[in-house]
């Protein structure tokens, strides 16, 4: 009986631990798509065409914006930088942040990429022909519209500010511009996907 006591204690502790550890799947903070939507596109990067399906990383975070956007776009891109940097290095290798310009008239692929890389050197910036951008925007349900037009180089762009999470070619998760700023919760969602 004396010999059995430590084992009983251990068993008791294990049982206690079993009941204390939360069970079940991760509860997502972002908006999870019940029917993940297959998505793909080819746009222009600084070194030529980039096809979404050929991006090496399995989780891609997409944000649509424009370079001449000093307030809204940097706020989200800085939030994505914080989330990316909070991931362990192993997870970072499997995540890619891509900025897609919805202002192809002003943002060349080089400018879009320089802009993205200013936030994090691993980020990628893409642009393309107005038709190609329109097509990608339609795929993701992104709205964009020139506003306060003063001339061919002087205008603002209203645009959907959602961050889209694509995993293995399928759109699986969305973060609103407010939600994306909760770094810890975004990181937990990404780690649950990986």
């Amino acid at each position: 009986m004396k010999k059995a006591l430590p084992f009983l204690l251990l068993l008791g502790l294990l049982l206690l631990a079993y009941f204390l550890v939360p069970k079940g799947g991760h509860s997502f903070y972002g908006t999870r798509l019940l029917n993940p939507k297959p998505v793909d596109f080819t746009l222009q990067g600084p070194k030529g065409p980039v096809r979404l399906a050929e991006v090496r990383e399995e989780v891609v975070l997409l944000f649509f914006g424009f370079v001449h956007c000093p307030d809204v776009c940097p706020t989200t891109l800085l939030a994505l930088k914080r989330a990316y940097e909070a991931l362990p290095p192993k997870a970072q290798e499997r995540v890619r942040v891509i900025f897609v310009s919805v202002d192809p008239d002003r943002d060349t692929p080089e400018i879009a990429d320089q802009y993205a890389k200013n936030f994090h050197p691993s980020f990628l910036g893409l642009s393309g022909s107005p038709e190609a951008i329109q097509e990608v925007a339609r795929t993701f349900g992104v709205y964009y519209q020139k506003a306060q037009y003063r001339g061919p180089k002087e205008y603002l762009v209203d645009h959907t500010a959602t961050t889209f999470v694509v995993q293995k070619g399928k759109l699986v998760l969305l973060f609103s511009p407010d939600k994306v700023e909760a770094t810890e919760k975004v990181v937990a969602d990404l780690q649950a996907l990986l």
């Binding site: 809204v72 400018i111 802009y115």
Partner: protein
Amino acid sequence: MRVLLLLLLGSLAWGKPVATPGWVRLVPPVLKDTAAYLTLENRGTTPLRLVGAETEVAQRVSFHRDHREHRHGQEVLGMRPLPHVDIPPGGKVVFRPGGYHLMLEGLKRPLKAGEKVAITLRFQDGTRLKVLLPVEMR
């Protein structure tokens, strides 16, 4: 004595702007526009109207407010220029991401992290207020 008191009261009846510095956003050199943030308080007894601003580092300074609308169930963001910004007596206006911002348009040179940018704010009553804002990446 009475004259002095009247003068004192007269001076109290002005709008009195007080600025709490914020920051100027560090942007990549490809960008010619950036945003500046600060808090403006009116410690006076009459309304203050911010009508303009100047800085040596940019061609123009304008005021903007973020514009939000929902389309297809998602949030669409943009910004709209404001001709002026009103600060009621005893009130304040916070310029911060997602709300109001000063837009420094046409940067004459790339800004460096840590440098201080001087911006002169002009109010309708002729008051001028100079603020120094650090350039930060945040």
